[in-house]
Symmetry: C2
Subunit: 425 residues, 2 copies
């Protein structure tokens, strides 16, 4: 989509029984100067200046039944067809200014309920650079994450504390210690574990960081641990400070749980990278007929200050297909604006059912190892133990990045061979 | 649903090709102690203590194709059927504590993407009273809103500044002045109008409140004006203070734009009622196969501190049917907890295509006039002007509350008669 310094562009997939131009105009009107009935103050001059514009409308296929219930039909049509289309709409930046919360109300507000549509998805966004100036964006991004993790190249090999919920602070710390011994680069709390009474945040940070600091003193290596500080704004700021003071190098949030203003508030306070978990994302992505694409959605969170963003993984255990996963990851690595300091690129986090078998495919499709590759069973279940599991994953990535096949590398390296035997899929 | 002081209950609508109990167990496991592969730390004791429990499973209809793409099927079944069901799951409060953001990650987190489900909606929630103690809840609610608006009984007759966006601060103030002269009880900014460069929040508040204060000095009546302060947390707090200092009596936010922690942060700071706009709600409500019901969803926002919540209106211009609108409104008026001080009841806001013709139906269905009835064209387009429009709406409500039919009242009252003639639908 074209970038215009004075206009916000959005692309939608729509489905409607109304003439396309009429449905598009309804959306543009409703989301800018228009109302259902015309009112005295909506002068032609005001409409010209503040009205949203239909910039493009590309007809796609038609279907003989509406995909979502509740939509209207034009009167007097005996056998309606529901036309699908891609619609580009633009708004003057002057309507909302470079405010992310107000951008959201404009491009993804009351339009999902419009009777003109039996399907509507927000596909993409192109924003004026004013958004990069007004919003904090990622503070650490890829380079900062690498620096703090002490990993100059290749992916950060990561894992998630499991069981998801139920471990005490001491048990969490013991597990983190084992993972550190095994040579892991990155550990994160599960999104279900933030500050439950059985594992209070404060005690968890104290216990985990004591173990990790001791490990670092012994070995010179401090794994990055993303502490899930999801909570109210003041809580999150306080918890961030505790992590920082304890020598920690990363904090984690559940994006949907805290919302845009929560992330903005944390980011404006933060001195550590923010690991952004997208649980709840299925709400926006599962239906082909309603929702917001990750391509559009992640732009909000990058501008608000996420440094690392979840994108699921190839051949994952959830519903999402590989193409969608890769489109999301490519987005994270693609600058949002032309000026180098305004790229807002973030580190994609691959996870869910990951093993040594996904390294080559991920690298080939992405052309980059600027990512976190998180695995659970894929590391832990190695017959020789977690250290061998982590090492095997690194061997797989080394091979992928060197253009050596997984099989050839496995012939040379027994840990990788054993991992491959263990994970047949 | 039963209220349990130590467990969170959630009800889902699900659709699955797997045996029901197996699919339900997958959801409960994934959202608590479980992982895709079993791990050493997930002991039977831990599972017993922290595992989510399947409390009830009621089979509904079956369909011969999955409603959403991406779901899995059990192996070896020649002609699968997709079974729908209502599923109740409970979690120990100890898993997440009474934290709304972390509750959200538990009951509406990674479960929408589970391969077991070709459909999943969160229908309802029952929470331990600890949530009422730990969260602020509505500060003003119905009684506080009535007190500040000076309306002891009957609905607050309200309207929305239109055009939605594009008016200058002065033009907004002039319109607010006209509406005040017309005897309106409640005015709100459009959700598209917060702090756009053409109508900065600060100037709008100054201009509008100067006019409304002058009106109040003259007449003794100050309409409640909900200023849309949607923005970052510190901005919202600052804007709230400006409204308070200018003598204003209400602030407004777009819930999805600010998120849970934004509302919590504003509420903990606020000395004015918070008007909660739900734009973007269609994302959760449009599909029958994925989403969150308003019945469940509004409980988060009530606990977080909304005082007035949008519920759409009868025979509205959007896609939502009347039954859904009324279920939402009834919810707002229904106490969430048994203790009187923990009811968290809020004032429902009816709007969208509203005229004098919806007063009787709304009152009859709801059995209450504790609401804001907002209309645009339904007031403005009265042939005798806005004051007659507002008066006609009040006459319709007086009749509804007195058990007098709309037609009988219209025979006696010319403003109502004219309004009825104007709005035939």
């Amino acid at each position: 989509m074209p970038r215009n310094p004075l206009r916000v562009w959005a692309r939608y997939w729509i489905e409607t029984a109304f003439p396309l131009a009429e449905a598009a105009a309804a959306l543009a009107g409703e989301q800018s100067s228009g109302t259902f009935v015309s009112v005295p103050g909506e002068t032609p001059e005001l409409k010209e200046r503040y009205g949203a514009r239909v910039e493009a409308l590309r007809a796609l296929d038609t279907v003989d039944a509406p995909s979502l219930p509740g939509a209207g039909m034009p009167g007097g049509v005996a056998q309606p067809r529901w036309q699908r289309a891609e619609l580009d709409v633009s708004w003057p930046l002057d309507n909302m200014g470079p405010s992310l919360p107000n951008l959201l109300a404009t491009v993804a507000g009351n339009l999902f309920e419009l009777r003109q549509f039996s399907g509507l998805r927000l596909l993409d966004l192109a924003l004026p650079p004013d958004f990069a100036r007004a919003n904090p964006g990622p503070q650490f991004g890829i380079a900062g994450t690498r620096r703090l993790a002490g990993i100059a190249q290749g992916p950060l090999i990561g894992t998630i504390i499991k069981p998801s919920v139920g471990l005490s602070p001491e048990a969490t710390a013991a597990l983190a210690g084992e993972l550190a011994e095994a040579g892991i680069d990155f550990i994160k709390d599960d999104e279900l574990q933030a500050d439950g009474p059985h594992c209070p945040f404060t005690q968890r940070v104290d216990a985990v960081m004591a173990v990790l600091r001791a490990h670092a003193e012994r070995t010179g290596r401090l794994p990055m641990y993303a502490f899930n500080l999801t909570g109210e704004v003041d809580e999150m700021r306080r918890r961030h400070d505790q992590v920082r003071d304890a020598g920690g190098t990363c904090v984690m949030v559940s994006l949907h749980s805290i919302g845009l203003t929560g992330l903005l508030a944390l980011r404006r306070h933060a001195q550590l990278p923010i690991h952004a978990h997208r649980n709840g994302w299925g709400l926006f992505s599962r239906s082909p007929h309603i929702g917001v694409s990750y391509v559009a959605w992640q732009k909000f969170w990058r501008l608000a200050g996420a440094d690392q963003m979840h994108v699921n993984g190839l051949r994952n255990k959830f519903c999402e297909g590989d193409e969608s996963v890769l489109a999301s990851a490519r987005c994270c690595l693609k600058p949002m604006f032309d000026a180098p300091e305004q790229g807002c690129t973030v580190m994609p986090v691959f996870s869910s059912g990951q093993t040594v078998r996904q390294a080559h495919g991920t690298y080939a499709a992405l052309g980059s190892a600027d990512l976190i590759h998180a695995a659970g069973g894929g590391l832990m279940a190695h017959p020789e133990g977690v250290a061998a599991g982590v090492h095997a994953m690194r061997l797989a990535w080394d091979a992928a990045m060197a253009g050596v096949s997984l099989e050839d590398q496995a012939q040379r390296e027994s840990e990788l061979r054993q991992a491959l035997e263990g994970f047949s899929a």
